[in-house]
């Protein structure tokens, strides 16, 4: 597709359930990022994938959070045993990839709005 696609757009689930969020990056983009945005707050970095390198997981808030990416395509973010504080918009972004110079803009999807009851 032309842009970053995320699904589902909205997810409501009960506390304690596991959820899986999906991100389809722009074709050809080797770098993929996940962010979390709580209501009224800024974006919080979660995890970063670049090609076949080990992902940068430094932003994951707990071991209940994990993410996978197959090659340079789809990524899934999984939250296990969800808690109410996990309620947020989860945004995915992709970029052309590593340049080491910070000159590749990230392009964002519309996000998944997750609500934990």
């Amino acid at each position: 597709g032309a842009g970053v696609s995320q699904s589902p757009s909205n997810k409501v689930t009960e506390k304690g359930k596991d959820v899986e969020l999906r991100c389809d990056p722009i074709s050809g983009h080797t770098a993929l990022y996940w962010y979390r945005q709580r209501l009224g707050q800024g974006l919080e970095f979660l995890i970063y994938f670049q090609g076949n390198s080990a992902p940068d997981k430094s932003g994951l808030p707990s071991d209940r959070f994990s993410a996978e990416r197959t090659g340079e395509s789809v990524s899934t973010l999984t939250i296990q045993r969800t808690q109410q504080e996990d309620s947020a918009v989860y945004l995915c972004a992709s970029s052309l990839g590593l340049s080491g110079q910070g000159n590749q803009p990230q392009h964002f999807g519309d996000g998944t709005r997750l609500s934990i009851l």
Binding site: Y33, G42, L43, A93, G102, N103, P105, H107, F108, D110
Partner: protein, 114 residues
């Protein structure tokens, strides 16, 4: 870690007026991005600034990077209702391994009133 402070946090401007949003970093800026976000939507890339003194414009939006002051400003001329939204600045940090990450400010909520 790098922190970005945006000011003001919210701004209400009459249509047709000019406005400026500032983004100040706690560390040296290697690259600065400006994004716009509308409620319930993702971020729309506006501009990227890399060099001190660099200035870019797109339609009625101009952004500047003052590297020495570790600051960037976003200026909107003759504001329109379509400019309403949340403006976010993002600073690039590059690790020793070359990993790039964006750290975002908390945003400026812009409201345009007729």
């Amino acid at each position: 870690s790098q922190e970005l402070e945006q000011s003001p946090q919210s701004l209400i401007v009459q249509e047709g007026k000019n406005l400026t949003i500032n983004c100040t970093s706690s560390k040296t800026l290697y690259g600065l991005y400006w994004y716009k976000q509308k409620y319930g939507e993702g971020l729309i890339f506006l501009m990227m600034l890399q060099k001190g003194g660099e200035e870019k414009s797109h339609e009625k939006i101009t952004a500047k990077l003052d590297e020495k002051k570790q600051q960037s400003s976003l200026h909107i001329t003759a504001s329109q209702p379509s400019h309403a939204g949340i403006y976010l600045c993002g600073a690039v940090t590059i690790s020793n391994f070359g990993n790039e990450k964006l750290t975002f400010g908390t945003g400026t909520r812009l409201t345009i009133i007729p």
